[in-house]
């Protein structure tokens, strides 16, 4: 199993470790999932996300490449601005979801999912124009600091000048790439840094009274409350961005990107299924794989994520249903171990995002 540069720090903190995407990762620390989740919503949690892939695409045709492999447009994106987008395949399915930051018109930084790293890189390589170089930043770690105290902590601990940094923007300070975004719906940052500096950086953050390390289990419950997709579960090679309710990533004039035929057709005529939020209105917990039934008991879909929401103290999930059932408030049933639990279609996110902006749409 692979290890991140922070592996030793997790063991020292007595994390319960487990395998994720080929890495030995912290699932939770001593406080447990519930406490870590609520801590992140009220203070600041620090997450090791060094297992994710970091790449640079650089060259005269780097932007043209992104306009081919994603449905997004980067033409009007200002320098140092990040965008959530997807890599699409020829059938309009999603190869991966990722954050792409435009450094300049000819240089882009992308963060891709750990489990998709090799697949993404060979896909990009297949489509790479001669003038563009793809560089893997395998020698860098990635640390997320998330929560209402994140700004204060980063400022106090590292004296970093990030108070002016806006949502979905990146700043480079020495060899740190600091982006104001995340996967929790809270204000926060993702900091890319040389692997050898990661443990010291991590430990300094953890020494702050408002900071606790947070494992992958709470990372999952935090993102689920925000209705963010988990690749391989809520989206995959078969789901299109329109089905996944990610049509907002598609650029206004996008036309010639890979998979555009299906995606633009669905954009115009609608897709046969849509990703929705589901909230249980009766007791129980429904997890990935639970069948979604209409109130009359017909199978209409399946949950792609599900679990207990520590913030709402209710069970929530997301899954795909035909448009007829996708409206907020529609009553459905979830089948769990042969039992049917009452639920309803819910708006996403389940909680309002508290990211630092008035104008942003969604984080990645």
């Amino acid at each position: 199993m692979q290890k991140t540069p922070l592996h030793e720090s997790h063991l020292k903190a007595k994390a319960k470790m487990g395998e994720f995407a080929g890495y030995d990762m912290p699932l939770f620390y001593e406080g447990g999932v519930m406490e870590e989740h609520l801590w992140t919503r009220t203070k600041a949690g620090v997450f090791d996300v060094s297992h994710m892939g970091q790449i640079i695409l650089e060259g005269p045709e780097a932007m043209a490449l992104l306009h081919t492999i994603t449905p997004s447009s980067f033409v009007k994106t200002p320098p140092m601005m990040a965008k959530y987008t997807v890599l699409t395949n020829k059938d309009g399915g999603i190869i991966d979801d990722l954050i792409v930051t435009k450094i300049t018109d000819t240089k882009f930084f992308a963060v891709i999912n750990a489990g998709c790293k090799e697949k993404d890189i060979s896909w990009i390589d297949e489509n790479l124009p001669d003038s563009v170089e793809m560089k893997r930043l395998d020698d860098r770690g990635l640390i997320a600091l998330q929560g209402p105290a994140a700004e204060k902590v980063l400022h106090e601990v590292l004296y970093l000048d990030i108070l002016q940094l806006k949502y979905m923007r990146m700043v480079q300070i020495d060899d740190l790439y600091i982006s104001r975004l995340g996967y929790t719906g809270e204000d926060g940052f993702e900091i890319s840094l040389p692997a050898e500096h990661a443990p010291t950086f991590w430990e300094r953050l953890c020494e702050h009274g408002d900071v606790q390390p947070i494992g992958l289990a709470a990372r999952d419950s935090l993102r689920l409350e925000m209705g963010y997709c988990l690749y391989g579960h809520d989206i995959d090679d078969t789901t299109s961005p329109v089905e996944a309710d990610l049509a907002w990533v598609i650029g206004k004039d996008a036309d010639e990107f890979i998979g555009s035929k299906r995606i633009l057709d669905e954009l115009e005529n609608g897709a046969s299924r849509k990703r929705v939020g589901v909230m249980l209105t009766d007791k129980g917990v429904a997890r990935e794989g639970a069948k979604i039934l209409s109130s009359e008991g017909y199978e209409i879909g399946v949950l792609t994520s599900g679990g207990f929401s520590p913030s709402l103290q209710k069970s929530i999930g997301q899954g795909y249903v035909p448009p007829l059932y996708a409206e907020e408030g529609t009553e459905v049933l979830l089948e769990v171990r042969g039992r049917q639990i009452k639920a309803e279609i819910s708006k996403l996110p389940f909680l309002p995002a508290k990211v630092k902006t008035a104008t942003s749409k969604k984080a990645g």
Binding site: L27, F28, G32, V33, M34, H37, A217, S221, K283, G284, V285, R287, G307, F308, P310, S315, V336, R337, R339
Partner: protein, 122 residues
């Protein structure tokens, strides 16, 4: 009541006559973490040793509870649904079901207290 006997899946059973009282160990409860829901069986359900008869949902995951012996479930501790913290070694509060045993000898090869503690320490 007889002394508790344990399965390697961390259920305990204590037998009085032909009735076995069944729960899960403190160790199992602690390992599950934050408990959020308990899926209890219906009274009258007939189970075989090793059958899943209840499920504990924690924030982390769903964990099955298996019957340590065969028989008919004659009583269910419904109060646990609202007081999941009572789960564990405390037989008075933490029992989950009472099973009318069809073969009391089935519990002979379960672990006794000392053997269970050794098993946990291994």
């Amino acid at each position: 009541m007889g002394a508790k006997k344990y399965t390697k899946d961390h259920e305990w059973i204590s037998v009085d006559g032909d009735i076995g009282v069944v729960g899960i160990s403190d160790h199992a409860k602690d390992a599950l973490g934050d408990l959020v829901y308990l899926d209890l069986p219906e009274k009258g359900k007939v189970v075989s040793k090793g059958d899943e008869f209840a499920v504990v949902e924690s924030v982390k995951a769903a964990s099955e509870i298996y019957a340590p012996a065969s028989g008919e479930i004659v009583e269910v501790n419904e109060s646990l649904a609202d007081e999941m913290d009572n789960l564990g070694n405390d037989e008075g509060k933490g029992w989950i079901v009472k099973i009318k045993l069809s073969d009391a000898s089935e519990i002979d090869n379960l672990l006794d207290e000392a053997a269970y503690q050794n098993y946990l320490n291994d």
